[in-house]
Structures are given as C-alpha cells and as structure tokens.
C-alpha cells in the first residue's frame, strides 16, 4: 500500500524528468521528441493506481510520517469523494496526455510542457487524496505554479494563435488582447492573492486546534470558540483560496486569459484540476464540517449564505459572458466559471438542505469534468484544423470531422441539462435543492439557478452551431490525426457511464435520489425550457441586432479593468510615492550629509590660513561678543 501511494504522485513527475533535462541538452532532436511517451506512461501509472484505489481500497486514512513532532503528517484519505475524484483526475489527465502527444508534436518547448503537465496532474492528485491541510497546500501551490508555467508556455508571444482577444483592439485605456506571458502573470498574481489568506487560515486552524487533518478537526468546537466574527473571517480567508482558484467573482479574469496556454492545458485546467480543486476543496470541507448540523453555531449560516450568493452570481456572470463570446476557448472558459459557480452554490446550500446537496454538487463536478474536457479537446482539434481561435465551420466541416461533431453534440446535450442525458438528472437535483431552501433564504438562489441554466444550454448550442453548422468561413488543414479523436471519444463516453450509474441506482449515496428528482414534474418543466433555449440557439446562434449587448458581454462586462487598470494604477501610484521617499533618504545619507560635512570642513579649514590679521579679527569678534553679552547681563 505504501509504495503504491507514493508512486501515484511521484511516477508522473519522475517520468517527465528525462524530457525536461534532455530537452535542455538537445532541444528539438528526434530522440527528445520520443521522450514524451515516457511522460504519458507516468500518467498511465497514476491512472492504474487511481483505479486500483477506487476499486479495492477500504475507506479510511493512511499516514506517512512527515513532521510527527508537530502533529503534521502526510495523511491520505480514501473516501467516496477522493476515490471518485482521483480516478477521474487520473483518467482525464492520461487521456489528455495521449491527445497531447499528437497536439504538441511540433512544439518548441516540450521539456517545459511535459514537466509542468505531469506536475500539474501529480499536484491535483495530492490535493484530492490529502486529508492534511499543509500537505494539501503543497499540492495547491504545485497547481498554481504548474498552471502558471503552462499558461505562459508559449513565452515568446510570437504566435497570434496563442493570444486571447482581438489583437490590437483597445477600449479606452484597456488593451483587449493578452499574450501568453501576460496570461501566466495574471494567473499567478490572482492566485497568489487568494493563496496567502488561505495559508493564513490553515496556520490559524493549526494554532487554534493543533490539528490539520480535515476529517479530525472538531469544526463545530472551533467555530464556537472563535465566535461569529472569527468564524466568518477565518473561513472567508480560507475560501479566498478556492474562490481565486475556481475563478469566482471578482477573481475570474485570470481564467479567461488562461486560454493563452496550449488547449491541452485548458482542457486539464478546466475539467479535473486547478479550477476543480477549489470547488472540490469546498465540497470536501463541507462534507466534514457538517454545516447542516451546526445551526446552533453562530457564523456558519452567514458564511454559507455568502458562498451561496458568490457562487450563483458568478454562475450567472459566467453564463452571460459566454453568451457574448465568439472565441472558442474563451466561451468555454466562461462556461466553466459558470459551472463552478453552480457547484459552489449547490454545495453551500447543504447548510439548509443537508449532505445530499454536497453530493449533487460533486456529481455535477464529475459530469462537468468529462463534458468540458471533451469540448476543450474538440476546440483544440478545431483550432489546429482551421488555424483560427474564433468560432467558424459548417456542415461540411462536420462531415470531415465526424468524431469531433458527434462528441460535441453529446457533450453539449449531456452538460446543458437536456433530458434524458446526465446533467439533466444532476440539475434536477439542484433545482430541488434550491426550491427547498427558497423557504428559508428566499427565491433569489432559485431564480439565479434557473436563468443560468437557460443561458447555459443556449451558449452550448451556440458553440455547436457556430463550429459545425452556421459558422463563418474557414480554411481546413487536416493532418490525419488519430490520437486526438480517440482521446475525446473516450472522455465523452464517460458521461454515459455516469448516466448508467444514475439510472440503475447502484450507488447507495446519490443516484437513487437523483432519479427521483429527475422524475419530478417541476424538474421536467425546467428540462423542457432548457431544451427550448438549446434548440433556439442552435438555429439562431447569432442575433446581429443585439451585437452591442453581445460585445459588452463578450468583453466580460469590462471586468478586465480591475486586473489591468485599477489595481495596477493604485500599485504604481504607491510605488512611485515610495520611490520619491527613497530617493530623498538616499540623497540625504549619501550626498546631502557627506557634501554638507565637506562644506563645513572646508569652512573651518579656510579659517586656518596662517595670517595674523585673521586671528586678530576672530579674537576681536570674541571680545565684542563678550562685551555685548555682559551689557545684556548688566541691563
């Protein structure tokens, strides 16, 4: 058991080292171009182990000593969440790895790419299986670093195909296009702002409880001890990590420009790692905090209400932006943000609804992961085939790329919540949850959810339509790819596996309920509405008359101003002020003071010239001064 667990995380990293080093030595040589196979083999090892864990490991924790004197150890947890999530992550990573062998074949920086890609996977697996918060932070930081490396992979900024936005376009002071190096910087800077408060929260939990194992901390006791303000402050600090990683408002911008990375990276980033890590962590926390049992503890309700609203508003924002987007990957990125918001919202509803809400959020996470990975992989294939980042294509294209076409249809339907495919049942669960909690928190969450759902299926249909049916003109360059279609065909087929589990109700925890919710009349009406918007958008993917609104939405409601204008302006103003202060101190110490001393010294030396009359004058002056002083005294 021991070696297997270590291997799960270490294998991908170790297997990517040969290419990382060899590429530095002989970049681009034939031998170096064969080494990625080894990296993918490392991912395969992880995949096999994760499946083994899913099928055979008993629930429980497993400890490897790390800092036993501090009561901090590598504690791996195997439970419902981690087993499924681990298998999912390892599977998707392996599939994208296969896809990447073909997609990245001619790249100029494979050593960097594969090292960070595998580290990305390993870090996510560490986050998934870890019960200890400090150990989780290692994986968490690993995710941040690897995502930075991968988003900025094409660091030369020389290929406009890797940019986001229309190159050269400006709105006011804002440049509405972003090169890869800038995308990487935006990602790491945003994440840093979230990670540090989270790091503090972890340290504070350690200081207050002496324990860092999520499943062992007595959360209720902790919250009672620190009171309402303490709980809200501490947990909001903690959730800054998940919020920034999962790109919730107002930290969403980095995710949109993360599309400057290779598509494989976007696919992995958006489905099973990074952004999913944030929601996954919140789901895991809620699973062990048992918020539904803490109604007597002050602060918890405030906290969960905040998360509920942040999640649902982000969902609505993301969906609206996606409606206005015409760039393939950015559209999908905005949709991811929307989905993550739904997951946060649904998991937060568990405070009022109970554990089932957490489970539904988790099931949505899984459904979303497979469908979104598929869509991204298809988008990558399309970008390769058409050399265009923006949506384009018609039925002729669909005929030539049949697998991609079919995979897109399945993924959009399965993710959009059209009955009877997978997301319908999960979304039905969400509807029920929000409907239920409307009695206590009002109908706002339900309304947000419904609007988001309608928009969501619409832009998915728009994606399908603009790429395979009614899109703009394009130039096709097919290269006879085999691995790429194979990979997304495999990934999309997994939504049927989930559907099968739901319909047969074999899982005692979730599926039976999902089936019940789906068969409810209200849910079915929502399903019909969603189908309606899907069909409408399929037929009318663009409404030219509404294009000003579309531009506003597609420009992400000018939220980029926050990252690119407001925050930097404040920062530069402060740093300028500080620089002037520094210059003043520096001048005083190194020029003013020495030069002043020099001047005084010169004056004093100037007196000592050796002429008698000078000394006489000085003596006379002293006498005069003495007389004046004595006169003053006499008066």
């Amino acid at each position: 058991m021991n070696w297997e667990i270590v291997l799960l995380f270490v294998a991908p990293v170790i297997c990517s080292l040969p290419i990382a080093f060899y590429w530095v030595k002989e970049p681009g040589s034939d031998r170096a171009r064969k080494l990625p196979m080894l990296s993918v083999f490392g991912l395969f090892i992880s995949f096999v182990i994760a499946i083994h864990i899913l099928l055979t490991y008993p629930n429980g924790t497993y400890t490897i000593p790390w800092l036993p004197e501090y009561n901090i150890n590598f504690v791996f947890i195997f439970d419902y969440l981690s087993k499924y999530m681990g298998a999912l992550t390892a599977f998707i990573a392996f599939m994208i790895g296969l896809y990447g062998l073909e997609y990245m074949k001619h790249d100029y920086r494979l050593g960097w790419y594969w090292f960070f890609f595998n580290m990305f996977t390993a870090s996510m697996l560490l986050v998934v299986y870890s019960d200890n918060l400090l150990m989780l932070l290692i994986g968490w930081e690993g995710l941040g670093l690897a995502s930075w490396g991968l988003i900025g992979h094409w660091f030369r900024d020389d290929d406009h195909l890797s940019y986001v936005g229309v190159v050269g376009r400006k709105v006011g002071p804002l440049k509405m296009y972003w090169p890869p190096s800038y995308g990487g910087w935006r990602a790491i800077s945003t994440i840093r702002i979230g990670d540090m408060p989270m790091f503090f929260a972890v340290a504070a939990i350690y200081a207050l409880t002496g324990n860092l194992n999520i499943s062992q901390i007595h959360w209720g006791v902790l919250f009672t001890k620190i009171g309402l303000a303490g709980t809200v402050f501490l947990m909001l600090c903690f959730l800054m990590g998940p919020f920034t990683k999962s790109a919730q408002l107002p930290f969403s911008e980095w995710l949109m420009t993360a599309m400057t990375g290779p598509t494989t990276v976007s696919a992995l980033l958006h489905s099973a790692t990074m952004v999913a890590a944030g929601t996954y962590l919140f789901i895991r926390l809620s699973w062990y905090i048992h918020p539904w049992a803490l109604h007597a503890v002050p602060g918890v309700s405030v906290l969960y209400y905040i998360v509920l609203l942040v999640g649902l508003f982000s969902a609505l924002y993301g969906a609206s932006v996606a409606i206005g987007c015409l760039e393939r990957k950015v559209l999908l990125a905005a949709s991811t943000m929307s989905s993550l918001g739904l997951m946060f919202g649904c998991a937060a509803a568990s405070y009022w609804y109970g554990k089932l809400a957490v489970l539904i959020a988790f099931w949505y996470l899984m459904t979303h992961a497979f469908a979104k990975a598929t869509l991204f992989l298809v988008a990558g294939h399309l970008i390769h085939a058409t050399h265009d980042r923006f949506c384009c294509g018609d039925l002729n294209l669909a005929k030539k790329m049949k697998t991609a076409f079919i995979a897109t249809i399945i993924a959009t339907i399965a993710l959009g919540g059209l009955p009877p495919l997978t997301a319908y049942w999960v979304k039905a669960g969400m509807d029920t949850v929000m409907h239920h909690i409307a009695e206590t928190v009002g109908s706002l969450p339900l309304d947000l959810l419904l609007i988001t759902s309608l928009l969501y299926s619409a832009f998915l249909a728009k994606f399908l339509s603009l790429n395979f049916w009614k899109g703009d003109k394009y130039h096709l360059h097919l290269h006879g790819e085999k691995l790429m279609p194979f990979a997304y065909a495999c990934v999309v087929s997994m939504v049927f596996l989930l559907l099968y589990r739901i319909l047969t109700g074999t899982d005692p925890l979730a599926e039976t309920h999902l089936l019940e919710y789906g068969l409810d009349k209200d849910s079915f009406i929502v399903g019909l509405g969603v189908t309606g918007t899907y069909l409408f958008a399929l037929v009318v993917p663009r409404i030219r008359a509404l294009s000003p609104i579309g531009t506003f939405l597609g420009d992400r409601m000018y939220l980029p101003a926050l990252n690119d204008f407001i925050v930097p302006s404040i920062g530069w103003a402060i740093s300028k002020l500080i620089e002037y202060t520094h210059k003043a101190i520096d001048w005083f110490c190194h020029f003013g003071l020495p030069d002043g001393m020099l001047g005084i010294s010169r004056r004093i030396r100037a007196i000592q010239v050796g002429y008698m009359r000078v000394y006489m004058k000085i003596a006379l002056a002293f006498v005069m001064a003495a007389i004046v002083v004595s006169m003053l005294g006499w008066l």
């Binding site: 530095v24 490897i64 790390w66 290692i138 660091f155 900024d157 090169p179 910087w185 840093r192 303490g230």
Partner: protein
C-alpha cells in the same frame, strides 16, 4: 572535537588556496565547505550540542568557546551550501570579470579566492562563536574581506560604494560593540552561558546596530548600492548570508535575554511590516537586475523583523526564513551574474525580455530562486507557515495584523513573478544564444534542489525538529494567548 576540525578545514584552506591554480583552488574551496555542510546535517539530525573551549580572555570579556547548537547548525547549513556553490560559480564569473578589467586571471584569482574564503569562513565561524566579542571579531573580518572584494572588483563607482558600505556596516558594528561592552561591564563576562541579563541601553544599541546591518527601513539605503555594485559572487554571499547575520545576532541576544523584544513586540512588528512593504513596492520600480534583487533582500529581511515579535513560532520562522532567503537570493544573484557574464555586463532589465530563449537553464534556475522568495514548494513555505501561526498565537484573530502580514507575503510573490515575466518571458530581445558554462548554472540547481528537498521527509523533519529544540531551550510562555 570533530566540530573543531570541521571548522578548521575551511580556515586552513583559506590560506592554502592562494598557492594553487584557479581550477584546483575552486574545487578545494567548494569541498572545504561541503564537508561542514554534511556535518551540519549530521549535527541537526543527532540533536548535537557541543561546547569547545578556545581561550580564557581577560576579566570582563570571559571565555571564548565554540558553541555548536541547533541554532548554529541551522544557520551554518545555509552558509556552507551557499558558500560552496558560489565558490564553484566564482571561477567562470571572475574569469569574465578579470578579462573585462584587463587583468591576468591566475595572479588575480589568488587574491580573490583568499578573500572569498576568508569572507565565507569568517561567517561560518561567526555562527559558531560562543562569545559576543568572538562574534564581533568575525563580524569585522567578514566586513573587511567583503569590503576589499567590492573595492577591488566591484562595478560602477566601486571605490566610493565600497567606502559607503564600509562606513555603514562599521557604524552597525560599533553600535553593537558598545552594547556588548556594556553587557560585559554589567555581567562580568560575554560568554553566552555566563550572561544573566542584557540591560536596556545595551540591548537598544545591539538592536540598532543590527537593524543597520539587517537592514530595516531608514538605514537600508546602503544596501542597494553595495549589493548592486559588488562583483556578483560577492553579492551572492552578501545578500543571502551576511545581512541575515544581523538577525542571527539579535536571535542570540534574544535567546539569552528576551525581554527587550518581548517588551517592544508591537513597534518591531510594525517596523518589519512597513520595511517589507516599502521595499516590496520598490522592487517593481527597479530596472537594474541586481539592484532589484537588493531591494527584495530588504523586503525579505522584513520577514525576520516581523517574526521576532511572534513568540516561539516566530523565532523558528526567523531561522527558516534565513535559510530560505539565503537559498533563493543566492540563486537569483547568480542568475543575474549569469546574464552579466554571458552578455557583457547586461543588467538593464529594460533591455531584456524573453531571455528564456537564450539561456533556458539560467531562466529555470531563476524560477527556483523566485519560488524560494515566494515560499512556493520550497523551505520558505515553513517560514511563512510559522510566521502566520506566530501571528495568531500572539495577536489572536486580529484582522489588521493578519492582513498586514498576508499583504507582505502577497507582495513578495507578485514582484517575484512580475520580475520573472519581465526578464525571461515575452518577445525575445534579440541576443545570440550562448553556451552557458556548466559552473554558471549547475550550482544554482544544486541549491534549488536542496531547498525543495527540505520540505519533504527526511530532511524536513531533521531541520524542523532541530528548530523545535530551540523552543524547548527558550521555554518562553506564549505571549498573548489564543483568540478570545
């Protein structure tokens, strides 16, 4: 006695290397620091505490002895590995520098390597000194050696900068010396184990002296000059190792008589935060790579000041932060030097961009360096963790102090990656790709790997258990207590 031999090794080597050819001298110097490195790990792992008497000096000064405890070993860990690696790096770098200055390699290198080893050895001995006067002597030797190195091989207006450096650090040393002597008068000895209490004025003088050396906001103005204009291998010792020794001296005084720091926790904390943020913002405005790194040093040393006031975990954080910063900054100065050596003195960041294209190994090393500064996946992570825990231990869930510290950490991360982006990413600036001398990049990776290994077992447990032993010795009750 083993410790004595291990410490004597670099000392003897210092005087032998000038007799050797450059390549041999370099190799011998590196080995002379790698052996003590191995020994420090052994010392940390076995919880070793040794005292070796050296001499009995006249009355108020007391015994000189070598003190090897967990604090010494922790600091020595960083000093040894960095000194060894920078020694290796010196050879190609100084060869370039001598060529630039029109001097002959073999004869100049004799001088250089002597002062280099003297400098590094004196720092190593400093952390094993068991008497404040002994400590002061090594402090001054290190100052003299580094002063001469800047004076002889520095850049820009090197003589002026060297003098400036000398004056400032000499003021620092003088203040501390007066403090030491006052302590001697009050206690009848300056041996660490014989001092009962350090009085207010003495403490204040030591503290102020070390604030200049550290440096805190205000006296920090000397540092950007000295670190930017020193020859790069010297910068790579000055910034990572020497300035942090200010924290070491304060730490030693704290372990003997902690009352001063405890009484003025809040002012020191605020001062640390302000210094760190101030310097952090300055980093964004620098266009000279080495000067930029110098400002980052001030920011990082602010961490140490912050940590001093944070009780037991704060003290642990000081030690970890010293190590982490030493690793990170040594790597980064060497990357700056790598660019200088390969591109004829290129230091201006505005003329860089996309440098990863030309020097991928140095760029990757710089990433390791910046990870150290940001505490990402390197030993600095524990430093930040302990500081944050210390904040909660000391102030409870106090929003303003917590946000201040969090902001300090955020700034470090931001300027690290911002700088990386400016220098190594973006449209390549149009230079020739060069073949980098192996000694200009391999040592950087070795330091980087050590810094990563230190967060995983077994090294993490060895280091942190040793650091925890420090707490047991101090046995200070937690100040403040937990949250209301």
């Amino acid at each position: 006695m083993m410790l004595l031999y291990v410490l004597l090794l670099p000392f003897v080597v210092t005087f032998l290397t000038p007799l050797m050819k450059p390549r041999l001298a370099t190799a011998v110097s590196a080995v002379a620091f790698l052996i003590p490195f191995a020994y420090t790990i052994y010392g940390l792992a076995s919880g070793l505490v040794v005292k070796i008497p050296v001499a009995d000096v006249v009355h108020p000064i007391g015994r000189f002895y070598i003190l090897g405890d967990q604090v010494s070993f922790s600091f020595a860990l960083a000093i040894c590995i960095v000194s060894a690696m920078v020694a290796l790096y010196s050879l190609p770098y100084m060869a370039h520098r001598f060529e630039e200055m029109g001097r002959e390699l073999e004869s100049e290198y004799r001088k250089y390597i002597f002062f280099y080893n003297l400098y590094a050895t004196s720092m190593l001995w400093l952390v094993f000194s068991g008497n404040f006067i002994m400590l002061y002597i090594f402090l001054e030797i290190s100052l003299l050696a580094s002063f001469l190195l800047i004076y002889m091989y520095g850049y820009g207006d090197r003589r002026r900068v060297a003098t400036l450096y000398f004056v400032w650090t000499h003021i620092a040393g003088m203040l501390a010396l007066i403090g030491f002597l006052m302590t001697a008068a009050a206690n009848g000895s300056l041996a660490f184990d014989a001092i009962a209490k350090i009085g207010f004025v003495a403490w204040l003088l030591i503290f102020l002296g070390m604030i200049i050396k550290l440096p805190g906001l205000g006296p920090h103005v000397w540092l950007p000059w000295a670190h930017a204009e020193a020859p790069t291998p010297v910068s790579a010792l000055l910034s990572p190792l020497t300035v942090g020794l200010g924290a070491y001296v304060i730490l030693r005084a704290y372990l003997i008589s902690p009352w001063f720091i405890k009484a003025y926790t809040m002012p020191i904390f605020v001062y640390g935060v302000v210094s760190s943020i101030y310097a952090g913002f300055m980093v964004f405005r620098q266009n000279d790579y080495k000067r930029l790194l110098a400002f980052s040093t001030i920011s990082q040393m602010g961490y140490c000041l912050i940590a001093f006031g944070l009780g037991t975990y704060g003290i642990m954080a000081v030690i970890i932060q010293y190590i982490s910063h030493a690793f990170g900054k040594a790597i980064l100065f060497m990357t700056a030097g790598g660019i200088i050596a390969n591109y004829h003195g290129l230091r201006d960041i505005t003329k860089m961009g996309g440098m990863h294209e030309y020097i991928p190994t140095i760029s990757n090393a710089a990433l390791l360096g910046f990870m150290n500064l940001g505490g990402i996946l390197t030993v600095g992570m524990f430093g930040e963790f302990f500081i944050l825990k210390g904040v909660v231990d000391t102030f409870g869930l106090d929003i303003s102090t917590i946000l201040a510290v969090v902001f300090v950490f955020i700034i470090s991360g931001l300027y690290s990656f911002y700088t990386y982006k400016r220098i190594y990413c973006g449209t390549p600036a149009g230079y020739e790709k060069v073949k980098v001398n192996r000694l200009l990049d391999t040592p950087l990776f070795i330091i980087g790997i050590v810094s990563i290994l230190l967060i995983f077992p077994p090294l993490a447990a060895i280091l942190l258990n040793a650091v925890k032993a420090v707490i047991a010795k101090v046995a200070i009750a937690t100040i403040g207590g937990v949250a209301p």
